[in-house]
Amino acid sequence: MSSDPEKMMSKADKMTKLTLTRWSADWRGATELYEQAANGFRASSKYEKAKVALEKASKGQEMQSSPWDAAKHMESAAALAQKLSIWNEVADFYRKASELYVECGRAQPASDALGKAARALEEVKPEDAIQLYTDACEILEEDGRDQMAFDLYRACASVYIKLEKFADAATFFLRLGVAADKCDATNSQCKAYLSAIIVYLYGHDLKQAEKCYNDCSQIDAFLKSDQNRTASRLLTAYNEGDIEEIKKVACSSTVNNLDHAIIKLARKLPTGDVTAVQMNAGDDLDEDDLT
């Protein structure tokens, strides 16, 4: 076997092409050659070629009906693509890898693959990242492994926050709450609800925040928790327009236990004009109003 990766590549390509002399492609040999070629390219830092080699190796493994190895190769190819900053290829490769993992019946690596993809694309293509995160969460939920999905939900919500889409972020937190409820992870659940309320408040949406709070109060676990008290304090402070109180609650230890992104949001509360809220509250409590 020649040690030159290029030669190996060409040899392997020849092995896979069907010609008159060759009636069935020798995938096993070809795959081996591809793998070796990829190692050689990686050693010599020719990442583009290594990536191609890995792709072909993965295809070979697939042909040999070993989706596990195929998926592994795909992942390595995607990592190289990430290094080369070819973003759409990153997404594609990781997706393919994830599908192969699902074929193996292994949900965890599948969602891991999508998670890696999403993390890679967070900065560059956040919408794609969100999509990838959502798909990853679905895979895990189908498999019944909700607990692993918590981190993914949180990461997705933080991406939404970066995009300033607060309603979506809050929705994701609520989905986290549902997943946590399924696994009886009450602490995470309550933290998720508190985060959702803070996100709504940050988005100047007091009504939504209150609605959210009322919904969450139906849940026993939340009702008995510290986070519930913090949330109610925050909302009453908002209703009374008491800026000092809002700041005090935002710096309390309950809020400090939440996600980093949420802490930053909380510190920036109150956003907008709290005095308008105060006036509204005054209108509501007008006793002479008989309507």
């Binding site: 607990q147 009886d184 995470s188 230890s253 236990n257």
Partner: protein, 266 residues
């Protein structure tokens, strides 16, 4: 003599000498018509019993019973004081067979009564009692228990002295420090609680993973065991047969041929 005889004899003797019995004479002197005399007699007896009780109280060791008796004496005194006006009215009434001197004397007696009643010691008698002041300092029974204020709750009484305001300040400061310390402790506890529940959830997360690892490792060990057994069988087979010896012999022959060829070609 029988008992009955003795009794009748004693009765007749008593009747004979009744006229020498002072008390009985006095009683018989007080006829049913003279209400004043009757009432006055009753008063006298009551005052005397009260005085006796007061005597007993001074000798009494048991404080509770002393207090109870004092209370009774006071009650009696109050009752008597109430009835003095009635007696006074009766004193002024003219009764058959009474001289004017006796009437005046009766009046004097009645007037002296209140003083006598008050004079009965009942455990609270002390200095001069004025009817206007509500509180008189009581210093007789327990001189060491004092109400310092003497009943003067005026402005000066509620004025903060220097020491009291200092004390209050110090108290406030210490309280604030305590609150601060408690706040810090509570924050630390919050952090601990959060970490503990996160750890709890993490462990819960890892339980099914551990179960999977467990089953996979079990499978792997059983596979290994099978493989080992088969390998052992194969090796035993190899060793037990003659192939081993034949292999060695053939090997020696090949080496011999190789050496011979080497020698020839050298």
């Amino acid at each position: 003599m029988t008992v009955i005889d003795i009794l009748t004899r004693v009765d007749t003797i008593c009747k004979k000498y009744d006229k020498y019995d002072v008390d009985k004479q006095r009683e018989s002197n007080i006829s049913g018509d003279d209400a004043f005399a009757r009432l006055y007699g009753a008063f006298e007896t009551q005052i005397e019993t009260a005085l006796e009780k007061a005597e007993i109280v001074t000798k009494e060791k048991n404080r509770a019973s002393a207090v109870a008796m004092n209370a009774e004496i006071r009650r009696t005194k109050a009752r008597l004081s109430e009835e003095v006006p009635k007696l006074q009215r009766l004193a002024l009434k003219r009764v058959k067979g009474l001289t004017t001197e006796e009437l005046a004397a009766r009046n004097d007696l009645v007037l002296a009564l209140p003083a006598r009643i008050e004079a009965i010691p009942d455990g609270t008698a002390g200095g001069p009692k004025s009817t206007t002041s509500a509180w008189a300092p009581s210093t007789t029974s327990r001189p060491d228990i004092k109400f310092d204020s003497d009943g003067r709750f005026d402005d000066d009484y509620f004025q903060e002295s220097h020491e009291s305001s200092q004390f209050k300040q110090e108290f406030e400061m210490r309280k604030i420090k305590q609150d601060q310390g408690l706040d810090m402790i509570s924050e630390g506890l919050d952090a601990l609680k959060n970490m503990a529940s996160d750890m709890n959830e993490e462990l819960d997360r890892q339980v099914p993973l551990m179960d999977e690892i467990d089953s996979k490792v079990d499978r792997a060990t059983s596979d290994l065991k099978n493989t080992n057994v088969r390998l052992k069988d194969t090796v035993n087979q190899l060793r037990s047969s003659r192939n081993f010896c034949i292999d060695i012999v053939l090997l020696c022959i090949v080496l011999g041929i190789a050496a011979y060829l080497y020698n020839v070609l050298k």
